[in-house]
Amino acid sequence: MWAKGNFTMEPPQPSQMQTTAAETRGSPSAEFFAGARDTFPLVVGAAPFGIIFGTLAGTAGLSFWAAMGMSVFVFAGASQFIAAGMVAIGTAWPIIVITTLIVNLRHLLYGASMVPYYKTLPRFWKIVLSFGLTDETFAVAIRRYRKKDNSDHKHFYNLGSMVFMYSNWNLCTLVGLTMGKTFPGIATLGLDFAMPATFIGMVIPYLTKSPMWASVITAGSVALMTNSLPHKIGLMIAALSGVATGIIVELMCERNCSR
């Protein structure tokens, strides 16, 4: 759910994840619990951000049900943060929906990667597993699917990972929302800065190569130059400029950059 700096087709290789209990057995329930167990470190990582999302959503001006509804029905952390941030600055909802579409476009890659593994599943399973295809569950589940054993129940492993992430995310959102309500003064404490701080932390892992630097600097500068445009359309212009700059520099680098 969190941007981790790894959105290539190859899943990240989290070193802390070792063997899966399901490798030897393979019954649906063994797969399910193995999936949940292997997702545990990522659940721990996501928990504070669920809580921060809950507290921020209140200060951003979202109602309790809108914030909870996002976690229940959208289930995509980064875009939920961005949506809350855009609500706070008074963005029109269609712009937020379009931004969500763009921010979550990377999930197309996840969906594409899962096609061979979901192909034989009934449509209901495809729908459920696709709904829960967050960054974390994708990273964990794809490793299981690619293992060479012939378990027929790998989709239960995927489901176990998804259910654990989903319950944790919603519980943490609820905790955050409740904290925000119990301590209304929390809004004046400067929690509104938690969002830029979180985003800064999310951008840093990407900053490894010059195309990414060029992309981020362009997006930031264009956003400043277009700040006065209505409905925050400057944000879209800035993001697209950043993406274009990134890919152009990357293509140029393929030929010219000495590394």
Binding site: M70, I82, K119, I127, F193, S241, G246, I247
Partner: protein
Amino acid sequence: MNEVYLVAGMAGVTFFIRYIMHPASGRVEFPKLLERMLAYVPPAVLSAIILPAIIYPSGKAQMVSMENPYLIGGIGAFAVGWWTKNLLATIVAGMGIFLAWQWFLG
């Protein structure tokens, strides 16, 4: 704010993106270039939000000055994040610097 439209719209587009490859599989070829472009989307969107948020904290007036705790907190968060490469440390330290600066300014 039309919150129902907002949540329904966000849920709709997110599910659409996650699901669409399955019914469409076999019919579309995923362009390699698009794949590579998508990698730039999250950081570009995030920085397009961060910069205005810390340089125009009120939404209108530009504040590139030491009087702006958002800017100081942002620079501090970046420094800590760059140093530690730890998301949680970045947020906690960024908040700490922001709050301390705000308090210091009175």
